[in-house]
């Protein structure tokens, strides 16, 4: 396995150092690997993703992409957000071509480049099934369609890494399934390394070659789960015993690390209180 991203004793604190969002995170992500991250809310999934993307800087440790330390955002690492990242004043096709707009603005590309970019944009429009909404504005589209546009836009400059933070979190179950197969297809076709954050354990197993379980307070990696499903996934696998087994195991890890017992204690206390009041 060629290491694409290597995270070495990464730490990140917020505020006066009292919020430890990440502590001593170590992980190597391979070329064209699909890694998913799950974990209780606040365990630092988004923070880690943003550090890889260069939108946040680490407080300690380092992240290297192809051996080069990350020092800020770059076109090699595209990012897909949960929502509100499309430009509502641009049509679908112009949103997708936004990176080209940047380059045309800089006048550092030839007309041949523009041609290939247009070809690429058209290909992505085809790939994402966006032909019929090519000239629509984003707010005319459903949430699922909007995320397709966001993914197409991220893929346009052929990034080597795609960072996705709960990209399907706001979609309904059916649309999600379609998007899952679409993104698996993209990962094969484009050979993109994908780092994918989600709340949904099923989604994490279905998509990932490895599922990284994170734990909160301080944010850290709890365990890493190698997914045992065949490389070519299909929806029926979600019912297989292996799948259910892994889902159970991961859910247990998340529950144990989430600190839910405090809530149970609280519930018991409240019940006792209610009984005493009667």
């Amino acid at each position: 396995m060629n290491t694409k991203i290597s995270i070495e004793s990464a730490g990140k604190t917020f505020g006066d150092g009292n919020i430890i969002a990440l502590q001593d995170v170590n992980l190597a992500i391979g070329s064209n690997e699909f890694v998913t991250f799950v974990g209780a809310s606040g365990c630092g999934k988004s923070t880690l993703l943003r550090c890889i993307g260069g939108l946040e800087t680490l407080s300690s440790g380092s992240i290297n992409v192809d051996g080069v330390p990350v020092s800020g955002p770059g076109v090699d690492r595209a990012m897909v957000f949960q929502h509100y990242s499309l430009y509502p004043w641009l049509s679908v096709i112009d949103n997708i071509k936004f990176t080209r707009l940047l380059q045309i603005n800089r006048e550092d590309i030839t007309s041949a480049d523009v041609e290939t970019a247009s070809g690429r944009a058209d290909a992505l429009i085809d790939l994402m099934g966006l032909n019929h909404v090519r000239d629509a504005y984003p707010n005319q589209l459903s949430g699922g369609m909007q995320q397709r546009v966001a993914i197409a836009r991220a893929l346009l400059p052929r990034p080597q890494i795609l960072l996705m933070d709960e990209p399907f979190g706001a979609l309904d179950a059916q649309t999600r399934e379609v998007m899952h197969d679409m993104i698996l297809h993209v990962s094969k076709l484009e050979k993109t390394t994908i780092v994918f954050v989600t709340h949904d354990v099923e989604e994490a197993i279905y998509l990932g070659q490895r599922v990284v379980v994170m734990a909160p307070r301080p944010g850290r990696i709890d365990s890493i789960c190698q997914v045992v499903l065949p490389a070519q996934r299909n929806q029926d696998m979600k019912l297989s015993p292996e799948f259910v087994q892994q889902k159970k195991a991961i859910l247990t890890r998340i529950r144990e690390t989430a600190g839910m017992h405090t809530d149970l204690e609280l519930l018991e206390r409240m019940t006792r209180q209610a009984e005493a009041d009667q």
């Binding site: 955002p73 499309l86 509502p88 004043w89 936004f98 504005y137 707010n139 400059p157 960072l163």
Partner: protein, 279 residues
Amino acid sequence: MSTDNTRPSLYQSVISGWSAFWVIRGHLSPRIYLLFALTGMLLPLAAWWWLSASGLMDKVFMPGPIDVLLRLYTWFKDDDLLGDMWISTYRVAAGFSLSAILAIPLGIMIGSYRPVQALLEPLTDFIRYMPAVAFIPLVMLWVGIDESSKIAIIFIGTFFQMVLMIAEDVRRVPITQIEAAQTMGATRSEIVSLVIIPSAKPALLDTLRVTMGWAWTYLVVAELVAANSGLGYAILRAQRFMQTDKIFAGIILIGLIGLAIDQLFRWLHRKNFPWLYKK
């Protein structure tokens, strides 16, 4: 078997129609909307008409709509109505444009760059709370009572508010739009010109529309104290001659011009930002 389910009674349909009217943020057909709008405009007019005709109030203090219309006509024919309208509009346009030309870049800078914000926003906030009207004596001492003094007062009245509102508009650009551009390799200046400005533009135009209303307020203030022409001045002089109908005419005229400009801004909004109106 009852027919209740298939054909509601008249009573029921009236009730359901009535409650459909009051759906929160509901929809109204354009015709009904127009009907309501006209009622809202005409009812006060009718009340005014009735009040002036009833004789409850002295005609000297409460002229009727007809008196006001007649006065408008003589003002147009014998006095220089169009000249007054022109000079007032000119002053507003000049003061407002000067404000906007300076406030837009400044507001964008304050909203985008933290050091600029730290440097200028507290100061602007402070000046904003100084009453613009209180600057009039100073303005008259400094720039006299020619055109520039009126323009200066409108400028003082609108500029500081405008800067702060524009800065706020710019700050409301969703951070994910900016971060998306960063991950696509946009430089800082590209983020300002290709993301922040286009994203904030509709809000900016709305800010201009609102501050344009204030510009008219300050125009009248300026003309009441420091002018010998314009609609505000005409209103002041009318008071001296007890021409209440002319005061009414002046006030209504300013209202109508304001309304027309407001509609112009709204039209520009629809014209320039079609994505906001396509659903």
